[in-house]
Amino acid sequence: MTAYEKVTAARDVKKPTAVDYIANMFGDSFIELHGDRRFADDKAIVAGLAMLYDTPVTVIGIEKGRNTKERVERNFGQAQPEGYRKALRLMKQAEKFRRPVLCLVDTSGAYPGIGAEERGQGQAIAENLMEMMALKTPVLTILIGEGGSGGALALAVADEVWMMENAVYSVISPEGCASILWKDSAKAPEAAEALKMTAQDLFDLGVVERIIRQPKTEDKAMFESLKLLISRTLTKNLSLDPDVLTEQRYKRFRRIGTGHLIT
């Protein structure tokens, strides 16, 4: 598959969305919690509590919606500041109760609209980055589709970041990149190649720890094995001293890309 074919696969509306992952892995144990306690409840972000075997976890996902009606309701998975603030509220709550956090990311990016700017989209993302880096509870992020720039990173400052084999993660969309650099959005396939945004590229760059085989919505067994993998990682990190954990998280991001610097 070419890089751009992976982009197309990552955007495929038929692949499982965050709510599919939650339903398949946590079933009835999931209870959704709403609102940022400041302005509104952002439906682009679905969040709540669930049982991961016998461990309670906080689950936060960016949800694109599974049909047209849902997609409109979910703002096509483009979160607003209140969405990121809801996520942060629940992460701080998870820290309080020492619950691990699982983030499922699937977004073309944070919503670039007037209201979002007025309510501090940049500030909301910045705060998440800062607070997640020091969150004294394990955080695991899985990119299950599109990982669009700051809007994805705002839920991806984690101890480990995993990617579905057909997910992509990039600083800018290939269309955006092509239209800025080459004034031609039709050159998106070239941009996708140049941006190194596939799971394999990102694994090679040390940005993600694991590439996961993409489950189909009805594929119970694959969700079960993913759940087991998540549980092992979160349990292992839960046993670490919180200060050691945050130190490791800082070092994880501190290390990325520095091998190429010229001093």
Binding site: A110, P112, I114, E117, A126, L129, M130, M133, A194
Partner: protein, 286 residues
């Protein structure tokens, strides 16, 4: 001598081809037109006024070196990691040439170091619009991170002056990672109880807004500065929304509650010194 010869003194040049070449020569760079009020300003006057229009208070952009000169006590700035630079890590088409061109002005899009500000030892990071529009690459993020780590270790305050088009797309995901890295360094500095002041200058956008620019304990901005996550062009193009007048200016962002104050360039340094001293930062003994 004919009396009529005095009616009109004969100008030797009048009918000559040399006329054009003999008009007084005004070099273009002597004058600068203010883009806001259209006044023609004598460049030297404008520079003396800290690159601010004497007519309408429009703040022109400043180079990073001018910023350092504006804020640091004379001769006190000591640059750190001056030679640190990034390369074309992803082998991105055309990036090598862009880097080469940009490097004629500076090594990277930020200058970091320590200085005295009103006698107070301060770590100062100043972004450079002349280097690829202040975009944040791996080396930019590394320099800022190191500046914060040093400030944390030596218990110094940090002042960061931002100007940026956002993350540098030619470094792909690695530039995005700088947002997390710098935010982590800011957080550690903050948790150590130390002061961080940001000064937003025109334009501060994208990944810089969504990381260390908005993470200051105190956030100041110059007048009429674009402060945005998604810039006006992005919003108009992708959302097809018409933007209100003065949307995303520092005055607008102030009104929405996301910055502490809009400060004129003339009062910037005194304001910073005042804030440093209000946080118990002491003047060094001479």
């Amino acid at each position: 001598m004919n009396i009529f010869s005095f009616v009109k003194p004969k100008n030797e040049l009048e009918n000559s081809d040399d006329t054009k070449q003999n008009v007084p020569f005004v070099p273009e760079e002597m004058w600068t037109r203010c883009p806001k009020c259209n006044t023609m300003l004598l460049t030297t006057d404008m520079e003396e006024n800290l690159n601010v229009c004497t007519g309408c208070n429009h703040h022109f952009r400043m180079s990073a070196a001018q910023r350092v000169e504006l804020l640091a006590d004379e001769g006190s700035f000591c640059e750190h990691d001056a030679s640190l630079a990034g390369g074309n890590i992803l082998d991105f088409p055309g990036y090598d040439q862009k880097l080469e061109k940009a490097r004629k002005n500076a090594k990277e899009s930020v200058i970091c170091g320590e200085c005295l500000m009103g006698g107070v030892r301060t770590v100062l990071c100043v972004m450079d619009a002349d280097f690829m529009m202040g975009s944040m690459g791996t080396a930019t993020g590394e320099k800022i991170t190191r500046a914060f780590e040093l400030a944390t270790e030596r218990r110094l305050p940090v002042v960061a002056v931002t100007v940026s088009g956002g993350a540098r797309m030619q470094e792909g995901i690695l530039s995005l990672m700088q947002m997390a890295k710098t935010s982590g360094a800011v957080k550690r500095h903050s948790d150590a109880g130390l002061l961080y002041i940001t000064v937003l200058t025109d334009p501060t956008t994208g990944g810089v807004t969504a990381s260390f620019a908005m993470e200051g304990d105190i956030i100041l901005a110059e007048p009429d500065t674009l402060v945005a996550f998604a810039g006006p062009r992005v919003i108009e193009q992708t959302m097809r929304q018409k933007l209100p007048k003065d949307f995303q200016t520092s005055e607008f962002v102030l009104q929405k509650g996301f910055i502490d104050a809009v400060v004129n360039r003339q009062s910037l340094k005194p304001t910073l010194i005042k804030l440093l001293k209000l946080h118990g930062c002491r003047e060094e003994k001479k």
